[in-house]
């Protein structure tokens, strides 16, 4: 297992390096550029050119890249052009919100998706199956921002749920870790915990829609595959009860592709979070990223995209490890 881990870590280094080149080259190939975005309406071509000169953006791109890499290796990703704050500090400040939101969305997606998928498979062709299939299709097809706006307009007021932000303005909660719920629990500020949970509900459900639909469909397909396996006949003939067969044989064997999907969906959550956080003014990394793209904030975008890539690589490693736990055959290989 250790060798496997070391190999994966070593593989991650060139992956991140290549990604850094791609991100760097892509950002610099975009028309517009940070100087124009920074100077706003008052930007004249002359002002843009001179600010580009001051920022060093008129130097050869290779030189710019190596300067960036040199600083990045020491952990210095520069300051955001929008907020003038160190980018690494910003990531630290905003990451907890995204983890809170992403985790809630994944919990919703798994807690609802796996049973829905199982039920659909179990009643294949029946009413529950058809209803679930239609709902998952809708879930995948509806864009997150549309769903977000619809939830804000239609659900927020009737359910009494806040439609934007992470915290009500009146709540002045103590901030220790920047995880709103955790901070509230640590300081026994139960109003703040409750407030944070309320603020999470709508964005978490909006963000959960796509992973929920995907997990439901994968679970359904996977369970159906297992239903057709020979070993179920053996289990049946051994006289095991149906509930034991379902849990021990069907679910356990059907879980492998589901875990892969969960891993991939977790990585993809950052993409969904960009829109969800923006629509709900939920100030996490997605919010930072959206603002960074609008304002062509190179330092922030470079750091965030590489951070996203790092998360993706890490999640994939975790998925591989969890394979070994769920299916011992993988470990032996």
């Amino acid at each position: 297992m250790l060798r496997f881990l070391v190999r994966r870590v070593l593989q991650a280094i060139p992956t991140l390096l290549i990604l850094s080149i791609l991100v760097f080259a892509w950002l610099r190939s975009l028309p517009g550029g940070p100087a124009a975005a920074l100077l706003g309406d008052k930007a004249t071509p002359e002002k843009i050119a001179s600010l580009n000169h001051v920022l060093g953006l008129d130097q050869p791109i290779i030189l710019q890249y190596f300067k960036f890499l040199g600083r990045a290796l020491t952990g210095d990703f520069g300051n955001s052009l929008v907020s003038a704050q160190p980018v690494m500090g910003e990531i630290g400040t905003f990451l907890p919100a995204t983890i809170e939101l992403g985790l809630s969305a994944m919990i919703i997606a798994i807690v609802l998706g796996v049973p829905f998928g199982y039920i659909a498979a179990r009643f294949r062709g029946g009413v529950p199956d058809n209803v679930i299939i239609v709902l998952t299709l809708v879930g995948v097809a509806v864009p997150v921002f549309f769903l977000g706006y619809a939830m804000q307009d239609l659900l927020a007021a009737p359910l009494g749920l806040p439609s934007q932000g992470r915290q009500a303005p009146g709540i002045d909660a103590t901030s220790i870790t920047n995880f709103a719920i955790l901070d509230g629990i640590m300081t026994s500020e139960w109003d703040a915990v409750w407030d944070a949970i309320k603020h999470l509900i709508l964005p978490a459900f909006a963000l959960a829609t796509i992973p929920l639909a995907v997990i439901t469909r994968i679970t359904r397909a996977s369970v159906l595959d297992v239903f057709n396996e020979d070993f179920l006949r053996t289990a049946n003939s051994k006289g095991l009860t149906q509930s034991v067969i379902r849990r021990r044989h069907v679910l356990r064997n059907a879980l492998l592709p589901v875990v892969t999907t969960i891993g991939l969906q977790t990585g993809a959550l950052l993409g969904g979070a960009v829109l969800t956080e923006r629509v709900f003014n939920f100030r996490g990394l997605g919010f930072l990223l959206a603002e960074g793209i609008e304002r062509r904030d190179y330092p922030r975008l470079q750091a965030l995209l590489l951070f996203g890539a790092l998360v993706y690589v890490l999640v994939n490693m975790l998925v591989d490890i969890s394979y070994g736990i769920i299916d011992p055959r993988v470990r032996v290989r």
Binding site: P31, G32, A36, L39, D41, K42, A43, P45, K47, I48, L51, H53, V54, G56, L57, K67, R71, D76, G78, N79, S80, V82, S83, A84, Q85, E90, T93, A97, V111, L112, P115, Q152, D153, A156, A157, P158, L159, G160, P162, S163, Q164, G165, R166, Q167, A168, P169, N178, K198, I201, V244, R247, R248, R278, V279, N281, R283, E291, E294, R295, Y298
Partner: protein, 556 residues
């Protein structure tokens, strides 16, 4: 054992699901609206901002989001009368130029203190002027956009700064008299003294927190702690905190101000998404926000919110690039375009209430505006005739317009494009549309490269001076318009150098007439952006310059 573990998992899942449901249901019982603050004086107003401020030292800033916050904390020598672009006393009770316009004498209000307890007097004024002029370092100077524009240069130009400085020196004759000496007269004065960038800051605090230290790290800038936490002025509010995670900037009443605010606290909450701002207002999380979409005005009013329309201080124009298609050099073709556009109809059907058809490139509130210019009322027959006379009946034009953007002068660029291009098609012009994202090369293509024949753009004024509009557009040869008219360029330079007062206004009136005869582009409309506040908020006066000061705000 296996069985037990699965049971636990299932139980946990059920509990989790039940929890989510319970949260949803209990939340239904919660009250929808928690109004902040009490009645009369005191209380807190939360205002929804469209974007992050950069930091709070206004000398290094040029964006509206930052200025909205700094103008609540820092006063300028002269200010705009609330609701208008007229000048009125602020820290200076009187200001007088010399005959040649090269010396400005400011008589200062007495008994004023900065929020750190130090006195505001003539030496503080001189300290601020000298600070800007003597600013060192390419990074710092490159951030001082307005100083560079208005004062044209520094004691020692560094990096991209160039030009001969307008500023010469400042003398503190006595504590309440500051005299600014200039190397040449500048038409932008005195209006430019109202710019938030030229607000007075405490010399003690500036020195204590090393405010001038702006450094560049890679492709970004770092400012001193002063700019983030210690900005110190004489205004009705003072800085309290900036929570980056929550996107909230909190100001508290400055009790040492000669006119402290009525509110206890003023919070700015950054909510970039317009719909989210609307939702936050409806929920009572914020008590006001900027730039509601015109299509929401009715809805917002129906819900009891106050939509305050700002008098127009901007202009939307159709740019004509004469170096694109040679036919555009013919004045008859440019006139035909102007006669061919039904601006009345466009303004009525596509722009927010209060918007008007533009007859020249400066809005009515600006000194230098004149009604006595050549006008081009909608007349498609005349347009066709002019095109025929110019031998341009089969004209094909590349028409650039921006996407992914909303500007105060152009709430919906695609709509604007469609409306104008339909009119132009009606007079026989073939339009080749080119849509480009605002931050994705649009401005580069039209302003730097001049790839277009026609384009849409506009301008929001910074201060009450016609030069800030027409000088910016037509003061010199530019790729955007592709013409060289030395007569016009000279007239603009002379108007800019004419001393303040009637002569200055007259000079710009003449320039405006020249421009509308020459017609280098077509002014389309003076749109009116709005600001919206909740039903209980009193004392917000919509400003043409988006210069709303919240010192008199109370929550009823």
């Amino acid at each position: 054992m296996q069985q037990l573990r699965l049971t636990r998992t299932r139980r946990a899942a059920l509990i989790g699901f039940a929890g989510v449901l319970a949260v949803s249901l209990t939340a239904c019982a919660e009250s929808k609206r928690d109004e902040a603050g009490g009645g009369g004086t005191g209380g807190t107003m939360v205002f929804g901002d469209t974007g992050n401020p950069k930091m709070f030292d206004p000398a290094f800033n040029d964006d509206g989001e930052t200025f909205r916050i700094t103008r609540q904390m820092l006063d300028t020598l002269i200010q705009n009368k609330q609701g208008t672009a007229e000048l009125e006393p602020s820290l200076a009770t009187k200001w007088e130029p010399s005959n040649d316009g090269k010396t400005w004498t400011f008589t200062l209000k007495q008994g004023v203190k900065f929020s750190d307890g130090t006195a505001f007097d003539a030496s503080a004024v001189c300290y601020n002027f000298d600070r800007w002029y003597n600013m060192k370092g390419a990074a710092a100077q490159s951030q001082m956009i307005y100083y560079g524009d208005v004062f044209e240069g520094f004691a020692h130009n560094e990096g991209d700064a160039s030009g001969d400085p307008v500023y010469k020196s400042c003398e503190a004759k006595d504590p309440s008299t500051a005299v600014i000496n200039l190397n040449k007269a500048k038409g932008a004065f005195p209006a430019a003294f109202t710019l938030p960038s030229f607000a007075m800051q405490s010399p003690t605090a500036l020195k204590q927190y090393d405010a001038d230290k702006v450094t560049q790290s890679g492709d970004s800038f770092t400012y001193s702690d002063y700019a983030y936490k210690h900005v110190t002025g004489t205004g009705p509010f003072k800085f309290d905190s900036w929570d980056q995670g929550k996107g909230e900037i909190t100001l508290v009443r400055n009790d040492s101000s000669t006119e402290p605010a009525k509110l206890d606290k003023l919070v700015f909450k950054v909510i970039p998404d317009e719909n989210a701002r609307k939702q936050a207002l409806k929920a009572g999380d914020i008590q006001g926000y900027d730039f509601p979409a015109p299509q929401d005005y009715g809805l917002l009013r129906n819900e009891g919110e106050q939509v305050l329309i700002r008098p127009s201080f901007n202009v939307l124009y159709l740019g004509i690039n004469q170096s694109g298609n040679p036919k555009l050099k013919d004045p008859r073709v440019r006139q035909a375009l102007a006669y061919g556009i039904n601006r009345e109809q466009f303004v009525k059907s596509k722009l927010a209430e209060g918007s008007e058809v533009a007859t020249e490139f400066v809005p009515k509130a600006i000194s230098g505006y004149t009604d006595d210019v050549t006008k081009y009322p909608y007349d498609p027959a005349k347009a066709k005739q002019l095109l025929a006379e110019a031998g341009a009946s089969n004209l094909t034009l590349k028409f650039y317009y921006p996407t992914e953007v909303t500007r105060p002068y152009m709430p919906n660029p695609a709509d604007t494009f469609t409306s104008i291009s339909e009119d132009l098609k009606n007079i026989g012009i073939t339009i080749q549309p080119v849509a480009e994202p605002w931050n994705g090369g649009y401005k580069d293509d039209v302003q730097k490269f001049g790839k277009q024949d026609l384009h849409l753009l506009g301008w929001t004024g910074d201060y009450n001076d016609a030069g800030n509009f027409v000088g910016t557009f037509f003061g010199r040869e530019k790729k955007e318009f592709g013409f060289n008219n030395p007569e016009l360029f000279n007239a603009l330079a002379q108007a800019d150098g004419s001393p303040a007062g009637d002569a200055h206004a007259k000079a710009y009136q003449n320039v405006n007439k020249m421009i509308m005869d020459y017609l280098p582009a077509i002014p389309i409309a003076y749109p009116t952006p709005a600001i919206v506040v909740g039903p209980k908020i009193k004392g917000v006066v919509a400003s043409p310059l988006t210069d709303e000061r919240f010192n008199n705000v109370t929550i009823g």
